[in-house]
């Protein structure tokens, strides 16, 4: 079933096209990565899906309904944790709830491995813990779609891998559809069912890579390496002759 659909999404800035006729279908429960170099408009695309940017042409449909603004159906994890510094971890996680639900907050905290830190303030958290908290906060409204905008790019390699596990874990638990923006090929390969390669300005869908490997995947598997080489070539970082 198609959960999220983009039809001819085009975004034009004063200095030219940023996104050019993006078409994309994301199925329920899928993890899809948008992979591309910085400045290819993939974050812009995510903001459009989140309903934060409405200056575009084309349409974004969630279960067949056009998205006209932020909705509780769509949760967002940004590149930075963006926690509210005046709220403790528990209150940050519960921020999106209409009425307090400490059981749900506690369950989410446990899921992302923050169960002992509900009373801590954001400034007491490490970068990885803060981002865990942000993931839990995005999930609190039980969104059908979780958008993640380079969520681990500011973290060190080990923390990043651990948070990728956390992401897979919550994805399994809550069964949300995930759209992940990343520029890390390994991350895309480790997490996604499909990788959508986006070219540099204007952003266009250049290729789609299906990753049909069972999870949990072993990092650095030979098959993955083969896919990585192919992706690198699509991104024009291959070792072969350049076109």
């Amino acid at each position: 079933m198609v959960e999220l659909e983009l039809r001819d999404v085009t975004k034009v800035y004063d200095d030219g096209e940023a996104l050019s006729r993006i078409n994309l279908q994301v199925h329920t429960g899928e993890i899809v990565s948008l992979l591309g170099p910085s400045g290819c408009g993939k974050s812009t695309l995510l903001r459009i899906i989140a309903g934060l940017d409405r200056e575009y042409t084309g349409s974004v449909l969630l279960n067949g309904q056009a998205i006209t603004g932020p909705t509780p159906e769509v949760g967002v994890v940004f590149q930075e944790p963006r926690l509210f510094p005046w709220l403790n971890v528990g209150r940050n996680i519960g921020f999106g709830l209409k009425k307090p639900d400490s059981a749900r907050v506690a369950a989410l905290a446990k899921e992302v491995g923050l169960e002992g830190y509900l009373k801590s303030l954001p400034r007491q958290l490490s970068g990885g813990m803060a981002q865990r908290c942000a993931i839990a906060r995005a999930l609190v409204t039980q969104p059908r779609v979780l958008l993640m905008d380079e969520p681990f790019s500011a973290l060190d390699a080990f923390t990043r891998m651990r948070l990728q596990e956390v992401t897979l874990n919550v994805w399994r638990q809550v069964g949300a559809t995930v759209v992940l923006v990343t520029h890390d090929v390994d991350e895309a390969l480790y997490l996604s069912d499909r990788i959508v390669i986006i070219t540099e300005r204007p952003g266009k869908v250049k290729a789609e890579v299906r990753v049909d490997l069972p999870r949990p995947r072993e990092r650095g598997l030979a098959v993955m390496h083969q896919l990585k080489v192919e992706i690198m070539e699509r991104l024009q970082f291959g070792t072969g002759p350049k076109p």
Binding site: F84, W86, F95
Partner: protein, 287 residues
């Protein structure tokens, strides 16, 4: 073979090895706490020495009492004021003026500051005007206020309110404008309406600036209270000051100044207490 992993035995005593380090850290912390308590007392050394010197210079007749009375004499005056109840009568009169004027000025500063901070239309409408009024030195209003309101309570409260208004206004505007748009965006993702955004994100994020404004505004209120009472009053610490000058009693002047300092410190400490309670989440630099 292009490489090889060599396994190493990891000694399993790391937890024990850490113990002395932890203990040392705990000791260091206790020491630094003890020092910080002591450093509060360190601040008292200079004033105590100065007062002792002052007492000595007066006792030994370097300064004549009609010019500079000894600290002990000033304390005696304070005791007299306490016994006659005048101390409380005048302090309360001044405190009441400060609080009313501060509430009016600070309250208006909060409301207008929020309006200007939140709405570009409002900003364009009134910010220029307010900046123009702000550039008038506050004391310049005194003759006009007297002309308008006479010399009773009203011009005093108006002057104190003007003094409190601008610091609160300016800080609220810059606080609201300084709110991180990234946090506001999180609110939008959670579909918060304008009012909820204001209450749950903008106000808490602007609170530190607001408190800065409050404290500066409060200091200004005390300043303008004294000035307004010097203009002419029949009660209040400013009245005591005027009286002290007219009857040439420096002890009364010094006693009044001492009470003013104490009350100013007290009200500031109160605001600071509330601030620390509410804004404990801030990261602060401890030197």
């Amino acid at each position: 073979m292009i490489g090889k992993v060599i396994e190493k035995d990891v000694p399993r005593q790391s937890a024990l090895a850490a113990a002395p380090e932890l203990r040392r850290r705990a000791v260091r912390q206790t020491l630094s706490e003890a020092w910080s308590k002591k450093s509060a007392l360190t601040g008292l050394i200079v004033p105590i020495l100065l007062i002792a010197l002052w007492e000595y210079l007066c006792q030994s007749g370097v300064f004549p009492p009609w010019q500079l009375p000894a600290p002990s004499y000033v304390l005696g005056t304070l005791a007299d004021l306490h016994a006659s109840g005048e101390l409380y009568f005048h302090s309360l009169a001044s405190l009441r003026r400060v609080l009313i004027g501060f509430a009016i000025g600070g309250g208006l500063g909060l409301v207008v500051g929020l309006a200007v901070g939140l709405s570009r239309v409002f900003e364009r409408l009134i910010d220029t005007t307010l900046q123009a009024i702000k550039s008038v030195p506050t004391l310049g209003w005194v003759p006009l206020l007297i002309l308008w309101f006479g010399i009773d309570e009203k011009p005093k409260l108006a002057l104190i309110a003007i003094g409190a208004f601008f610091p609160v206004y300016v800080n609220i505007v810059s606080g609201v404008r300084g709110v991180d748009t990234k946090l506001v965006e999180v609110g939008r993702v959670f579909c918060l309406g304008r009012l909820a955004l204001l209450a749950r994100i903008v106000l808490p994020a602007a609170a530190p600036s607001f408190f800065t404004g409050l404290r500066v505004g409060l200091t200004q209120s005390w300043l303008f209270m004294v000035i307004s009472e010097l203009m002419g009053a029949s009660e209040g610490l400013g009245f005591l000051l005027t009286t002290g000058r007219e009857v040439a009693r420096p002890d009364l002047l010094l006693a009044s100044l001492l009470v003013l300092a104490l009350l100013g410190k007290l009200t500031d400490g109160l605001v600071r207490l509330i601030e620390n309670r509410l804004l404990g989440w801030r990261e602060s630099f401890h030197g």
